[in-house]
Amino acid sequence: MFKTPDGKEIFVLDGHTHFWDGSPENQANVHGKQFIDCFYAYHTNLSPEDQLWEKARFEKYSEDDIYRDLFVDGPDDMAIIQSTYLNDFYKNGFSSIERSSSMAQRHPERFIVNGSFDPRDGEKALEYIHYMKENFDIKGVKMYTAEWSGDSKGWALNDPAAYKCFELCEKLGIKNIHVHKGPTIIPLSKDAFDVHDVDHAATDFQGLNWIIEHCGLPRLDDFCWIATQETNVYGGLAVAMPFIHSRPRYFGEVIAELLWWVGEDKLLFGSDYAIWTPQWLVEKFWDYQIPEDISAERGGVQLTDDVKEKILGLNAAKLYNIDVAAKKAELAGAPVQIAAE
């Protein structure tokens, strides 16, 4: 719960968080080391200085850490935990649904744990989707198109094998497809961050919601065009958020573009925890206004209190069928437990 300076209580649903293990013990090779190192560079580069973590803690944080950072020190009411396997890089997966679900068991009212699958596994991917539905009753999945798998160095959302998986997701009611565009390496003749497969998949699967994490960065411009045309495409603000601190004017330009093209009903807050923590992001976001000249260039779009409330939680709540009033009441009856010091 975020309390505004004038006392209003804002429901915060953090749309993009992880409970990962990137520790050296779990790394399978140099790629695993480089993957977490890259995350750490994002963390050290875009966090305020007083929010920096030690490397070891960043590589692997505890169940107590995530609970405290999100809900006790942080303003989140709920958080969506995304699964990312990277089985070619990590022995037990980078953030597996089993490990995340076991952590979430301690406070099930606060977590939504999403699954993940790799369409290149063919029939096994379909079996795995059934397994995740039956065992974890997932409502959404996280797709990482840049994941390596043997000789393959990436895949596209409109690959035939992927379509089979999405058909099954739709049938089972797994409606929210979060997509992260990392660099797809091969074939080298393509734009590594191309987002046009989103366009195809979203057109062909109207019954699914396509949440493009990081707003398609580094293809924000292409993403905006696509999101305008497709009613079921949403933008996740993870990675764009921390710019509010380091480059506030750019943040204004990016948000103005997104509000203009994508719209206030289709943007979702995400801290990208543990790369960043939600406390400072939400505080700064609530204080933020798009500079007048930037807003004027985009038809006067602005981050009003109502717009911020939608972005911080109401939009995501709709996608995950969460009755916000009921949830607020439920959480009021189970306040955050602060461990005895």
């Binding site: 480089q34 840049a146 590594a192 960065l217 380091s246």
Partner: protein
């Protein structure tokens, strides 16, 4: 001392020629972005350039393009007899290094990794973005000088060349804009229009506003990526160590050499 001076001079030659190599995605020189890690000149004829990208996962095809761009620029310096390019700490680094130093043509190497396909389409896409970004800077500069839409869209190449800009960004981007305009054949004679679209179309006065909005989207995207890359590069370069022979020119340019005060404080 004479030898040291000469060496520094040659390294400066190399450094300056690398300004012509840009990151295709950002349209910024790799020298400005801080990607060049080390330049080594031996016997006044051999050059070795090491570079590093902001992350291990940066687009390999662009890494290829930059590596070949470095080789092309360095070998065009008259005194250079031998050039070696090395990309450090990258997921595709070994293949890039093997390819760029093999002496074979870029297309030939590249085709091996994509079933014979060429990168032309992607290169063209990013060239279009670079063109839009450079053009926007010049257009906004003209607006700031009081030119109206009618004036701007009908301006000829000759007229544009006579405009006196004072803004730092306009001064930097104008020659880069003209370069692309000419090299792409979008204008050549003084009476040709100075501001066609990338597709070679004329822009009508009433379309200028919408045209500028499109250019702005491209620029915001590129600047966003640029800001991210600069930051990540800076973080990553903290790992770079000064070589056994002491700091080189690049170490000084990139601010990797601690100041005397800091050294003194460290004792």
């Amino acid at each position: 001392m004479l030898v040291a001076n000469l060496k520094a001079e040659l390294e400066t030659d190399v450094w300056e020629c690398l300004d012509a190599v840009t990151d295709p995605e950002l349209d910024e020189p790799i020298t400005d972005m801080g990607f060049v890690e080390r330049i080594e000149v031996t016997d006044a004829k051999k050059v070795r350039v090491e570079f590093r990208l902001p992350t291990y996962w940066c687009s390999p095809n662009f890494a290829f393009l930059m590596a070949f761009g470095i080789r092309k620029e360095v070998t065009s310096i008259p005194w250079v007899v031998e050039a070696e390019v090395q990309l450090n700490d990258h997921c595709f680094g070994e293949k890039v290094n093997e390819g760029v130093n093999s002496g074979r043509a870029y297309h030939q190497i590249f085709a091996e990794y994509c079933d014979g396909a060429r990168l032309d389409e992607v290169v063209d896409t990013f060239l279009a973005k670079a063109f839009d970004r450079r053009q926007e800077t010049v257009l906004l500069g003209l607006q700031a000088l009081g030119h109206d839409a009618e004036d701007i869209v009908s301006m000829s190449l000759g007229q544009l060349r006579r405009v006196v800009f004072s803004g730092e960004e306009e001064l930097r981007q104008l020659p880069r804009y003209l370069d692309l305009l000419l090299s792409q054949g979008l204008a050549s004679e003084p009476h040709d229009l100075a501001f066609p679209s990338w597709d070679g179309d004329e822009i009508a006065p009433h379309e200028l506003r919408a045209h500028l909005a499109k250019l702005r989207s491209t620029r915001i995207n590129m600047e966003f990526n640029g800001a991210l890359c600069r930051g990540l590069a800076k973080t990553r370069y903290k790992e770079v160590e000064i070589g056994p022979d002491g700091p080189t020119l690049i170490d000084f340019i990139e601010g990797r050499v601690p100041s005397r005060e800091k050294l003194a404080a460290r004792g």
